[in-house]
Symmetry: C2
Subunit: 501 residues, 2 copies
């Protein structure tokens, strides 16, 4: 029985027969039980941790209610971040095992600070400017390969010659970080922020596919997830050829192989980390011929790495890109067992091609939905998602920074959770907006999307959901649950020992 | 069968048996039929008007899609207004019979321009400053009566002595108009805008209750509704005693009687206007004793004006005010046949006292819900509202100006309409934010809340809903429907004669 709504039993009770208080309590409990995590029972230790957590959570919310200028739950991430960094709730979330992150783009996954402090100090990094006036970073010498229209400059030399190298690095970081203290002024429209955002991929991607950078960057990616108590990731990768200092290039297959090897090495070093798998992500604006090529390429790579490259997706600004509907004939060439993790409904438009992507994603039998921001306006599709247990990959901070929602308490994830529609909390492109790991998104999930009185039940559900709705095999899932249960138990102990708060 | 969601029949059709296209079309049609107005059939003339309307609507949306800086549907009203004023869709909506407005506060109902140009030119208007530094306008001489802490100044004299009387009037208007070209800067938080908003009632209310002003003001109120093709209003009034130039005062009963007489006179002059009825609105923060007094007063007035004063409500910033739950014992003193039109869920908080007001409103058997912005997060209550046919009074611009939502396409009204939950479009306090009549709110309803492809079916439903969910008696409703049908038919003719576009 997968009805989204309970019936109105409680509200139809006559006040005379059960009394106002009883009817009131019945509805409140029914809503609590209906929501994500509502029917989880907590152990007595967990209940103690929940009590503790709720003290901090309610304290911070009360503070935010009294002083709207300090109400992190309602503020833009760029303004809220200093508050979040001081928050006890946030420290709790950082240490809490969060399971998996299932929506994360590799080229925007690593904190921009690391990119500046490490990658940009690698010998050989060059900067040039393309026809649109955007900086492009590369380690490759041949201009035509990456669309430069200006001369190259050595980043190391520019930095040396600058008045203030620290300031140089700050400005360099701004090339791939959207942070501004006044997002409402700097990004007045969705187009303004998407233009800069899309440009940041152009700035950075080529540099990342320089073999030594590629290895260091993805190692750091794993480190940042691991350090944030994430144990597994399904990484959307836009695969490109690799190149090295001698000018040699390596096919995309080599990029996958490198990631596989890095992953194996990282997992050996960190037995509590389960590793990553890849989702092959291609540009949604491609023409039919190019899309058929992408599909063929995916088939080939999938046959080589059947357990590592687990699915397919289309990426790029959904509003401006081609609708899924136009790509269907190419997508039908995918093997019938291909798992699709499709971006759909990342929009504020209603009944436009972007939100109708949700319908096509479901008809294409998608395994999960990326964003699904607009799903909330499509009751029939929302019901299908719940019935078929198709998880929605929520990216709260991404949706805010990229101009879909201002006050995060209006994020539709709140409603998905209220209805126990399967959701997983994801971080999308944390490196591009001053975040790191998954905890900042979890902060908004529990402080802004969940009801005020929701605590450990919701958090635990979200963590376990991330395994449940992953593309892990059944056997891998068993291992993942075991590991998550183990880390969860250790975390609960740690809280009770006073090591978290 | 009052299920909110259709089942997933269409989506479960196997693609082999019916084909992708058919399944796709089935879902799209099912969603269209499910929504507000989805099952209305249009006459052939109406269908022609719909086609015409859709050309303009889709044209303006396409323009907004191409140029986000000019996308009125997504912009704050203060920024969008010049665009809306030039919009053909808006001109259509202005001339369209909109039926009734069921949520409108008398002290903020009249355009601020009129108040400046007319009321402030009445002889005897004084200005003073209260302890909070707010200007207060009055025609009464005794300072203690209206909380002034400064000396009085004659508005006429101030104006005469000012360097530029036009500039003086502009500044005077700012005292009761929230307009600013940069709302995102001037009102960074809900508290900032509510403080100014609440203060504006303090500035203006006393001046309105000066008998000559009271008459002129409420006459203008009727004019503005009538001129905007609204035919009936249920006005929330905070009743105060009246006073005149000689210092005499008149009890609240007299204020009701004045409104009744104005109304009768106005209706005689405009046979196509049905008139107004009143909802007695009291401050939600009152203590129990005061609330009991309010209830007693309402009972008395209701016995005098049984057909004119038709219901009861509590007003004031809901987040900061007392929850309904605390007022229940006083509210239970109301006669059991009292119709309650309760503000509830005007908030972004989730599971706080403000949104739990929704539950109490339903348990108190409210006739309609004011705002219900947070209802969307309460699936069980949402179901109850639909099952019991309790209309939600949507106030799109109010919710935006008062900081609940930025991009109107995120307004929960979109979801209520998707689910055919009963809604009526209202304007709340248009005089305080540079609006006039109901057409601006209708503009957002059709351009931002409704799906792109929704046209006359939705508009017609919204107009007819406003009669259906009004507090008119059955006989009055019959008359209202007739009148609305008549004006609707004349409007359709007018469009076809090319007099609208």
């Amino acid at each position: 029985q997968a009805r989204l709504y309970l019936n109105t039993y409680a509200l139809n009770l006559s006040l005379i027969s059960v009394g106002y208080e009883k009817a009131r309590q019945a509805v409140l409990s029914a809503e609590e039980q209906l929501m994500t995590g509502g029917r989880i029972s907590l152990s007595s230790d967990e209940a103690k941790v929940d009590d503790l957590f709720m003290q901090y959570k309610l304290g911070e919310l009360a503070q935010g209610f009294r002083n709207a200028e300090q109400n992190a739950a309602a503020m833009h991430f760029f303004k809220a971040k200093p508050l979040i960094d001081r928050s006890a709730v946030f420290r709790f979330l950082q240490q809490m095992p969060k399971g998996a992150v299932l929506h994360l783009h590799n080229s925007a996954a690593v904190s921009s600070k690391w990119v500046v402090q490490n990658m940009s100090y690698m010998p050989g990094m060059l900067r040039c400017t393309d026809a649109q006036g955007r900086s492009r970073l590369t380690f490759r010498r041949a201009a035509k390969q990456h669309g430069c229209s200006s001369q190259y400059v050595q980043v190391a030399e520019e930095r040396r010659n600058s008045i203030d190298p620290a300031l140089y690095d700050e400005n360099l970081e701004r090339l791939f970080n959207l942070y501004t203290p006044v997002p409402e002024l700097e990004y007045p429209t969705i187009t303004a922020v998407w233009n800069r955002f899309q440009g940041m991929f152009d700035t950075l991607t080529e540099a990342i596919y320089y073999l030594p950078a590629f290895r260091a960057y993805h190692w750091q990616l794993l480190e940042e997830l691991f350090n944030d108590n994430v144990m597994y990731a399904e990484l959307r990768v836009g695969l490109h050829e690799l190149y090295d200092a001698s000018g040699r290039t390596f096919p995309k297959e080599q990029a996958v192989r490198e990631l596989l090897q890095l992953n194996e090495k990282f997992v050996r070093l960190h037995p509590n980390f389960l590793g990553i798998k890849l989702i092959h992500a291609v540009w949604r604006g491609a023409d039919e011929q190019k899309m058929r090529q992408n599909v063929a390429e995916f088939k080939l790579l999938q046959s080589i790495f059947p357990d590592f490259l687990v699915g397919f997706d289309l990426v790029g600004q959904e509003d401006k890109g081609k609708p899924l509907y136009e790509q269907i004939s190419a997508l039908k060439e995918l093997p019938s067992n291909t798992r699709l993790f499709l971006h759909a409904g990342e929009t504020n438009w209603y009944s436009a091609s972007t939100d109708i992507n949700l319908l096509d994603a479901l008809l294409l039998n998608a395994t999960r939905i990326g964003h699904g921001f607009a799903l909330v306006k499509h009751p029939i599709l929302m019901n299908a998602v719940k019935t078929r247990q198709i998880a929605v990959e929520l990216n709260p901070i991404s949706n805010q920074v990229l101009h879909l929602v201002w006050d995060m308490r209006n994020h539709p994830g709140a409603q998905y959770m209220a209805l126990d529609i399967p959701v997983v909390i994801c971080n999308d492109d944390p490196g591009f907006w001053n975040a790191k790991g998954l905890s900042y998104d979890f902060y908004y999930a529990i402080m802004s999307l969940a009801p005020n009185n929701a605590g450990l039940r919701v958090l635990k559900s979200l963590a376990f959901n991330s395994v449940r709705y992953s593309a892990l095999t059944e056997m891998e899932k068993q291992k993942a649950y075991k590991l998550l249960e183990y880390s969860w138990a250790r975390f609960i102990e740690k809280v009770l020992q006073g090591k978290v708060f």
